[in-house]
Subunit: 118 residues, 2 copies
DNA sequence: TTAATTAATCGTAATATTGCAATAGACAAA
DNA sequence: TTTGTCTATTGCAATATTACGATTAATTAA
């Protein structure tokens, strides 16, 4: 199918998945790291820095823009992209909450004497 | 192509993407939340709780197992799954480092007087 | 042994993702 | 206006993902 049955899940679960999904490609990770590093960037830079074709970079930028994690400002013929700090902060909250899940009893719940299925 | 050019990126970038990717589906988010909540789970439970078919759940469990975020122990005819806390902790480190990126100057790098490209 | 239970695997259909060449659109410079 | 520069969009090919019915494999119970 290729299509997640999102109606089976809570808004929070779908939101976590949506943010995680956009980080699920190293090019987008790399783009974000670059944007944080230089705090200003145009698309052409990224093509050189990353080594993917211009339409590919543009496509990855669009996915980041759709989640509002970055914003772009037109400057003449080029576009200046930068991190949307407010959105980044709220995304970080959502994901950090998920990553910080913990159990009352952190001991191994499965018997170590049993056969490990893997 | 559908295939990421992972050779263009650092090990760290690929690792971040791999972890994020596995969280990029709400079913896997839900499975992990359930495992944290009850600290012990058999596959059949998940099929009931989540509402996807058994082969689908099994497939999602395999992806989580491949990254060693969970482990399964055979108990009779069923399999007890639980969080691999050591791996969860190291994954959390990797992703938290990424999410905690910050810039020296958190001000908007793009002029607000310019046209917003979106 | 036979039957029942449980989870993994296989096979397949539908859809999504990745990547890029070609093109289009927007702007600046000449 | 024309030309050059930069980014977005379109269209497409290759591959990946999601989901599930059917089956298999492993174990337990009768």
């Amino acid at each position: 199918m290729g299509l997640a049955k999102s109606e089976l899940f809570t808004n929070n679960q779908n939101e976590i998945a949506a943010f995680a999904k956009v980080f699920g490609h190293p090019a987008r990770v790399s783009i974000l790291q670059h944007l944080f590093k230089i705090n200003r960037c145009i698309c052409g830079d990224l093509v050189t820095v990353i080594g993917l074709a211009q339409p590919t970079i543009s496509q990855h930028l669009r996915e980041l823009k759709e989640l509002q994690l970055i914003k772009g400002t037109i400057e003449g013929t080029s576009v200046c992209y930068c991190i949307n700090h407010e959105k980044w902060k709220s995304m970080k909250n959502v994901l950090t909450n998920f990553l910080n899940m913990d159990v009352s009893n952190p001991l191994n719940c499965c018997g170590t004497d049993k056969k490990q299925n893997q």
